[in-house]
Protein backbone atom coordinates (compact mmCIF):
# COMPACT_ATOMS: atom_id res chain seq x y z
CA UNK A 1 0.00 0.00 0.00
CA UNK A 2 1.29 3.45 -0.86
CA UNK A 3 2.30 5.57 2.11
CA UNK A 4 -0.04 8.49 2.71
CA UNK A 5 1.34 12.01 2.54
CA UNK A 6 0.11 14.89 4.69
CA UNK A 7 -1.65 16.22 1.59
CA UNK A 8 -3.68 13.08 1.08
CA UNK A 9 -4.67 12.59 4.69
CA UNK A 10 -5.59 16.18 5.50
CA UNK A 11 -9.22 16.31 6.64
CA UNK A 12 -11.43 19.01 5.20
CA UNK A 13 -12.13 21.72 7.73
CA UNK A 14 -15.49 23.39 8.22
CA UNK A 15 -13.68 26.70 8.65
CA UNK A 16 -13.56 29.45 6.05
CA UNK A 17 -10.52 31.49 5.13
CA UNK A 18 -10.52 35.25 4.78
CA UNK A 19 -8.28 36.86 2.21
CA UNK A 20 -6.48 39.96 3.49
CA UNK A 21 -4.97 42.10 0.75
CA UNK A 22 -4.23 45.54 2.18
CA UNK A 23 -1.89 46.74 -0.56
CA UNK A 24 1.63 48.05 0.03
CA UNK A 25 2.45 48.82 3.69
CA UNK A 26 5.58 49.88 5.56
CA UNK A 27 7.90 47.25 7.01
CA UNK A 28 6.59 47.78 10.54
CA UNK A 29 2.94 47.79 9.45
CA UNK A 30 3.38 44.52 7.60
CA UNK A 31 4.93 42.78 10.59
CA UNK A 32 2.32 44.28 12.93
CA UNK A 33 -0.50 43.04 10.70
CA UNK A 34 0.86 39.48 10.65
CA UNK A 35 1.23 39.64 14.43
CA UNK A 36 -2.33 40.92 14.77
CA UNK A 37 -3.68 38.10 12.61
CA UNK A 38 -1.91 35.61 14.88
CA UNK A 39 -4.06 36.89 17.75
CA UNK A 40 -7.38 37.12 15.85
CA UNK A 41 -9.86 34.23 15.74
CA UNK A 42 -10.35 32.67 12.32
CA UNK A 43 -8.28 31.71 9.31
CA UNK A 44 -6.50 34.41 7.34
CA UNK A 45 -4.48 34.22 4.16
CA UNK A 46 -2.76 37.42 3.41
CA UNK A 47 -0.83 38.96 0.55
CA UNK A 48 2.02 41.15 1.75
CA UNK A 49 2.85 44.26 -0.25
CA UNK A 50 5.96 46.34 0.47
CA UNK A 51 6.17 50.10 -0.01
CA UNK A 52 9.90 49.75 -0.61
CA UNK A 53 12.51 46.97 -0.42
CA UNK A 54 12.93 45.76 3.16
CA UNK A 55 14.96 43.15 5.02
CA UNK A 56 13.08 41.10 7.62
CA UNK A 57 15.06 39.40 10.37
CA UNK A 58 14.09 36.29 12.32
CA UNK A 59 12.80 36.81 15.86
CA UNK A 60 16.07 35.90 17.59
CA UNK A 61 18.50 36.52 14.77
CA UNK A 62 21.60 38.57 15.59
CA UNK A 63 21.84 41.90 13.79
CA UNK A 64 23.69 41.08 10.54
CA UNK A 65 26.59 43.44 11.36
CA UNK A 66 27.63 40.96 14.00
CA UNK A 67 27.81 38.09 11.50
CA UNK A 68 31.20 37.73 9.89
CA UNK A 69 32.53 35.69 7.04
CA UNK A 70 29.24 35.33 5.23
CA UNK A 71 28.58 36.07 1.61
CA UNK A 72 25.24 37.82 1.87
CA UNK A 73 23.45 39.73 -0.82
CA UNK A 74 22.07 42.26 1.66
CA UNK A 75 22.97 45.91 1.29
CA UNK A 76 23.62 47.93 4.47
CA UNK A 77 20.52 47.98 6.68
CA UNK A 78 19.20 50.10 9.53
CA UNK A 79 16.50 49.30 12.09
CA UNK A 80 13.01 50.29 10.92
CA UNK A 81 11.68 53.12 13.07
CA UNK A 82 14.83 55.22 13.14
CA UNK A 83 13.99 58.89 12.78
CA UNK A 84 16.83 59.60 10.38
CA UNK A 85 18.06 56.42 8.70
CA UNK A 86 21.52 56.59 7.18
CA UNK A 87 21.51 57.31 3.44
CA UNK A 88 21.79 54.42 0.97
CA UNK A 89 20.54 51.84 3.46
CA UNK A 90 17.52 49.57 3.60
CA UNK A 91 15.10 49.39 6.51
CA UNK A 92 15.17 46.14 8.47
CA UNK A 93 12.32 44.92 10.63
CA UNK A 94 12.27 42.00 13.03
CA UNK A 95 9.58 39.36 12.52
CA UNK A 96 7.56 37.54 15.17
CA UNK A 97 8.54 34.32 13.41
CA UNK A 98 11.87 32.50 13.50
CA UNK A 99 14.37 31.67 10.78
CA UNK A 100 16.78 33.75 8.73
CA UNK A 101 16.81 37.16 7.07
CA UNK A 102 14.91 37.81 3.83
CA UNK A 103 15.16 40.67 1.37
CA UNK A 104 11.64 41.57 0.24
CA UNK A 105 10.44 43.68 -2.62
CA UNK A 106 10.75 41.44 -5.63
CA UNK A 107 9.50 38.27 -3.90
CA UNK A 108 5.98 36.92 -3.39
CA UNK A 109 5.38 37.33 0.34
CA UNK A 110 2.36 35.75 2.02
CA UNK A 111 1.18 34.93 5.52
CA UNK A 112 -1.26 32.40 6.92
CA UNK A 113 -2.74 32.56 10.41
CA UNK A 114 -5.09 30.08 12.01
CA UNK A 115 -5.73 27.57 14.75
CA UNK A 116 -3.18 24.95 15.74
CA UNK A 117 -3.88 22.24 16.68
CA UNK A 118 -6.91 22.06 14.38
CA UNK A 119 -8.17 19.88 11.52
CA UNK A 120 -5.86 21.87 9.22
CA UNK A 121 -2.77 21.33 11.39
CA UNK A 122 -3.56 18.46 13.78
CA UNK A 123 -0.24 18.74 15.61
CA UNK A 124 1.62 21.72 16.98
CA UNK A 125 4.92 20.20 15.88
CA UNK A 126 6.86 22.84 13.91
CA UNK A 127 8.38 20.30 11.53
CA UNK A 128 4.93 18.90 10.70
CA UNK A 129 3.39 22.31 10.04
CA UNK A 130 6.40 23.44 8.01
CA UNK A 131 6.42 20.23 5.98
CA UNK A 132 2.74 20.50 5.12
CA UNK A 133 2.95 24.14 4.06
CA UNK A 134 6.04 23.43 2.00
CA UNK A 135 4.22 20.65 0.13
CA UNK A 136 1.23 22.90 -0.52
CA UNK A 137 3.36 25.81 -1.72
CA UNK A 138 5.20 23.47 -4.08
CA UNK A 139 1.84 22.20 -5.29
CA UNK A 140 0.92 25.74 -6.36
CA UNK A 141 3.80 25.45 -8.83
CA UNK A 142 3.23 21.79 -9.67
CA UNK A 143 5.64 20.24 -12.11
CA UNK A 144 8.13 23.00 -11.42
CA UNK A 145 8.80 23.15 -7.68
CA UNK A 146 9.11 20.54 -4.93
CA UNK A 147 9.63 20.45 -1.19
CA UNK A 148 13.27 19.73 -0.32
CA UNK A 149 12.69 17.21 2.49
CA UNK A 150 15.56 15.58 4.38
CA UNK A 151 16.85 16.06 7.90
CA UNK A 152 16.48 19.12 10.12
CA UNK A 153 19.82 20.83 10.80
CA UNK A 154 18.65 24.10 12.28
CA UNK A 155 21.41 24.64 14.83
CA UNK A 156 24.20 24.31 12.27
CA UNK A 157 22.58 26.98 10.06
CA UNK A 158 22.26 29.71 12.70
CA UNK A 159 25.48 31.51 11.72
CA UNK A 160 24.14 32.05 8.19
CA UNK A 161 22.18 35.30 8.02
CA UNK A 162 20.36 34.94 4.72
CA UNK A 163 17.35 32.60 4.74
CA UNK A 164 17.98 31.74 1.11
CA UNK A 165 21.52 30.57 1.90
CA UNK A 166 20.23 28.21 4.60
CA UNK A 167 18.92 24.70 3.84
CA UNK A 168 15.83 23.31 5.49
CA UNK A 169 13.55 20.33 4.80
CA UNK A 170 10.67 22.80 4.33
CA UNK A 171 12.38 24.75 1.55
CA UNK A 172 10.52 25.02 -1.74
CA UNK A 173 13.10 24.16 -4.37
CA UNK A 174 13.46 24.06 -8.14
CA UNK A 175 15.99 21.99 -10.03
CA UNK A 176 18.88 23.91 -11.58
CA UNK A 177 21.79 22.71 -13.66
CA UNK A 178 23.86 22.27 -10.49
CA UNK A 179 21.17 20.78 -8.25
CA UNK A 180 18.33 22.16 -6.15
CA UNK A 181 17.93 25.92 -5.79
CA UNK A 182 15.96 27.35 -2.89
CA UNK A 183 12.96 29.17 -4.30
CA UNK A 184 10.93 29.60 -1.15
CA UNK A 185 11.39 29.71 2.60
CA UNK A 186 8.95 29.75 5.50
CA UNK A 187 9.01 30.87 9.12
CA UNK A 188 6.55 30.17 11.91
CA UNK A 189 5.29 31.45 15.24
CA UNK A 190 3.02 29.60 17.67
CA UNK A 191 1.04 31.48 20.28
CA UNK A 192 -1.96 30.52 22.43
CA UNK A 193 -3.37 27.80 20.19
CA UNK A 194 -2.61 29.68 16.96
CA UNK A 195 0.05 29.55 14.29
CA UNK A 196 1.42 32.23 11.97
CA UNK A 197 3.24 31.14 8.84
CA UNK A 198 5.15 33.67 6.78
CA UNK A 199 6.50 32.63 3.40
CA UNK A 200 8.71 34.26 0.81
CA UNK A 201 8.89 32.84 -2.69
CA UNK A 202 11.20 33.91 -5.49
CA UNK A 203 9.12 35.03 -8.45
CA UNK A 204 12.05 34.69 -10.85
CA UNK A 205 12.58 30.99 -10.10
CA UNK A 206 8.92 30.04 -9.84
CA UNK A 207 7.58 32.15 -12.69
CA UNK A 208 5.13 33.61 -10.17
CA UNK A 209 3.43 36.56 -11.84
CA UNK A 210 1.91 39.31 -9.63
CA UNK A 211 -1.30 39.12 -11.69
CA UNK A 212 -1.84 35.60 -10.33
CA UNK A 213 -1.10 36.36 -6.67
CA UNK A 214 -4.70 36.53 -5.52
CA UNK A 215 -5.74 33.44 -7.44
CA UNK A 216 -2.78 31.50 -6.07
CA UNK A 217 -3.56 32.59 -2.51
CA UNK A 218 -7.15 31.44 -3.00
CA UNK A 219 -5.92 28.05 -4.27
CA UNK A 220 -3.67 27.74 -1.24
CA UNK A 221 -6.66 28.25 1.04
CA UNK A 222 -8.51 25.45 -0.72
CA UNK A 223 -5.42 23.21 -0.58
CA UNK A 224 -5.41 23.74 3.18
CA UNK A 225 -8.89 22.20 3.27
CA UNK A 226 -10.60 25.49 4.11
CA UNK A 227 -13.68 26.96 2.48
CA UNK A 228 -13.54 30.27 0.63
CA UNK A 229 -14.82 33.12 2.77
CA UNK A 230 -14.77 36.89 2.72
CA UNK A 231 -12.05 39.21 1.44
CA UNK A 232 -10.59 42.48 2.67
CA UNK A 233 -8.99 44.15 -0.34
CA UNK A 234 -7.54 47.65 0.01
CA UNK A 235 -8.73 49.05 3.32
CA UNK A 236 -8.23 46.99 6.46
CA UNK A 237 -11.25 46.42 8.73
CA UNK A 238 -11.79 49.47 10.94
CA UNK A 239 -11.55 47.48 14.17
CA UNK A 240 -8.01 46.39 13.28
CA UNK A 241 -6.61 49.85 12.75
CA UNK A 242 -6.17 50.81 16.40
CA UNK A 243 -4.50 47.53 17.46
CA UNK A 244 -2.33 47.67 14.34
CA UNK A 245 -1.11 51.20 15.14
CA UNK A 246 -0.30 50.17 18.72
CA UNK A 247 1.76 47.19 17.57
CA UNK A 248 3.68 49.42 15.19
CA UNK A 249 4.37 51.97 17.92
CA UNK A 250 5.19 49.54 20.71
CA UNK A 251 7.07 46.87 18.83
CA UNK A 252 7.66 46.65 15.09
CA UNK A 253 8.34 50.34 14.56
CA UNK A 254 10.64 50.54 17.57
CA UNK A 255 14.36 50.47 16.69
CA UNK A 256 15.08 48.71 20.00
CA UNK A 257 12.88 45.76 18.97
CA UNK A 258 14.26 45.72 15.45
CA UNK A 259 17.92 45.97 16.36
CA UNK A 260 17.44 43.34 19.08
Amino acid sequence: MQESTPLQTAPRSESSFHLVVPGPLSAAENMALDDLLLDQPGWFLRLTGWRQPVVTLGRFQPWPDSCSGERSAFPPIHPAGEVEPPPDTLAAVRRATGGGAILHGEDWTIAIAGDCPSPVFPHRRPTAVAHRISLLLARLFEGHATSRGGEVQEASMQHITDCFLRRSPSDVVVEGTEGSIKAGGIALAFRQGRVLIEASLRRDLLDAQPDNDLQQLHRLGLFLGLKAGSSSVGELPLQWQGPLARRVEQRFGDPRWNHG
Binding site: R59, G98, R124, S168
Partner: protein
Protein backbone atom coordinates in the same frame (compact mmCIF):
# COMPACT_ATOMS: atom_id res chain seq x y z
CA UNK B 1 5.07 7.57 24.88
CA UNK B 2 6.19 10.69 26.77
CA UNK B 3 6.96 10.59 30.47
CA UNK B 4 4.43 12.47 32.65
CA UNK B 5 5.68 12.74 36.26
CA UNK B 6 2.96 12.38 38.86
CA UNK B 7 4.37 15.07 41.20
CA UNK B 8 3.67 18.01 38.87
CA UNK B 9 0.67 19.81 37.45
CA UNK B 10 0.21 20.92 33.87
CA UNK B 11 -1.26 23.44 31.46
CA UNK B 12 -2.92 22.05 28.36
CA UNK B 13 -0.28 24.04 26.44
CA UNK B 14 2.33 21.65 27.93
CA UNK B 15 4.03 23.73 30.63
CA UNK B 16 4.44 22.10 34.06
CA UNK B 17 4.59 23.45 37.61
CA UNK B 18 5.97 21.85 40.75
CA UNK B 19 5.76 23.37 44.23
CA UNK B 20 9.01 23.00 46.16
CA UNK B 21 9.33 24.67 49.56
CA UNK B 22 7.03 27.58 48.76
CA UNK B 23 8.46 28.21 45.29
CA UNK B 24 6.94 27.01 42.03
CA UNK B 25 9.36 25.51 39.51
CA UNK B 26 8.21 25.90 35.88
CA UNK B 27 9.21 24.00 32.77
CA UNK B 28 7.86 22.41 29.60
CA UNK B 29 6.84 18.77 29.38
CA UNK B 30 8.77 16.03 27.64
CA UNK B 31 6.01 15.88 25.04
CA UNK B 32 6.45 19.58 24.27
CA UNK B 33 10.23 19.25 24.09
CA UNK B 34 9.88 16.35 21.66
CA UNK B 35 7.40 18.27 19.52
CA UNK B 36 9.60 21.36 19.35
CA UNK B 37 12.63 19.42 18.16
CA UNK B 38 16.04 21.08 17.87
CA UNK B 39 16.10 24.27 19.96
CA UNK B 40 18.18 27.29 18.98
CA UNK B 41 17.11 30.29 21.13
CA UNK B 42 15.17 31.04 24.26
CA UNK B 43 13.99 34.26 25.89
CA UNK B 44 12.98 34.15 29.55
CA UNK B 45 11.85 36.88 31.96
CA UNK B 46 14.28 38.50 34.38
CA UNK B 47 14.41 37.89 38.11
CA UNK B 48 11.81 40.12 39.74
CA UNK B 49 9.45 40.16 36.75
CA UNK B 50 5.80 39.29 37.25
CA UNK B 51 4.29 36.34 35.39
CA UNK B 52 0.58 35.73 34.98
CA UNK B 53 -1.31 32.42 34.84
CA UNK B 54 -1.87 31.20 31.25
CA UNK B 55 -0.13 34.29 29.84
CA UNK B 56 3.02 34.25 27.75
CA UNK B 57 6.19 34.74 29.78
CA UNK B 58 8.84 33.79 27.25
CA UNK B 59 9.58 32.44 23.80
CA UNK B 60 11.58 29.56 22.41
CA UNK B 61 12.76 29.03 18.82
CA UNK B 62 13.08 25.71 17.07
CA UNK B 63 13.01 24.75 13.40
CA UNK B 64 12.33 28.34 12.24
CA UNK B 65 9.38 28.45 14.64
CA UNK B 66 9.02 30.75 17.62
CA UNK B 67 6.71 29.30 20.28
CA UNK B 68 5.24 31.19 23.20
CA UNK B 69 5.75 29.83 26.71
CA UNK B 70 2.72 30.21 28.98
CA UNK B 71 2.99 30.53 32.72
CA UNK B 72 1.22 27.91 34.83
CA UNK B 73 1.30 30.28 37.80
CA UNK B 74 0.83 33.93 38.72
CA UNK B 75 3.63 35.41 40.80
CA UNK B 76 7.10 36.92 40.85
CA UNK B 77 10.13 35.33 39.19
CA UNK B 78 12.76 34.57 41.83
CA UNK B 79 15.21 32.59 39.72
CA UNK B 80 15.91 32.00 36.03
CA UNK B 81 17.77 29.02 34.61
CA UNK B 82 20.63 31.03 33.11
CA UNK B 83 22.33 27.96 31.66
CA UNK B 84 19.57 27.75 29.07
CA UNK B 85 20.48 31.10 27.53
CA UNK B 86 23.70 29.66 26.08
CA UNK B 87 22.46 26.13 25.43
CA UNK B 88 18.93 24.81 25.41
CA UNK B 89 19.96 21.15 25.30
CA UNK B 90 18.89 20.58 28.91
CA UNK B 91 15.29 21.25 27.90
CA UNK B 92 15.44 18.43 25.36
CA UNK B 93 17.57 16.10 27.47
CA UNK B 94 15.99 16.65 30.89
CA UNK B 95 12.78 18.70 30.61
CA UNK B 96 11.56 17.82 34.11
CA UNK B 97 14.85 18.34 35.96
CA UNK B 98 17.85 20.23 34.56
CA UNK B 99 15.70 21.86 31.87
CA UNK B 100 13.51 23.86 34.26
CA UNK B 101 12.92 27.43 33.05
CA UNK B 102 12.02 29.72 35.95
CA UNK B 103 11.17 29.60 39.65
CA UNK B 104 8.23 31.69 40.81
CA UNK B 105 7.06 32.97 44.18
CA UNK B 106 3.33 32.38 43.78
CA UNK B 107 0.74 35.12 44.36
CA UNK B 108 -2.32 34.44 46.50
CA UNK B 109 -4.43 33.90 43.39
CA UNK B 110 -1.71 31.87 41.71
CA UNK B 111 -3.94 29.79 39.46
CA UNK B 112 -2.21 26.60 40.59
CA UNK B 113 -5.54 25.06 41.60
CA UNK B 114 -6.67 25.34 37.96
CA UNK B 115 -3.86 23.21 36.54
CA UNK B 116 -4.37 19.70 35.19
CA UNK B 117 -3.21 16.78 37.30
CA UNK B 118 -0.95 14.20 35.70
CA UNK B 119 -3.82 11.84 34.85
CA UNK B 120 -5.79 14.51 33.03
CA UNK B 121 -2.71 15.75 31.20
CA UNK B 122 -1.80 12.19 30.23
CA UNK B 123 -5.34 11.71 28.91
CA UNK B 124 -4.92 14.87 26.84
CA UNK B 125 -1.73 13.47 25.33
CA UNK B 126 -3.35 10.09 24.69
CA UNK B 127 -6.22 11.76 22.88
CA UNK B 128 -4.10 13.99 20.66
Amino acid sequence: MSNVPTDRHYLSSHEWAQQVEGVVVVGISEHAAEELGELVFIELPAKGDEVIFETQFGEIESVKAVSGLNSPVTGKVVEVNQELIDSQSAISDSPFEDGWLIKVEPAIDSGLDLLLDHKTYQAQLDGS
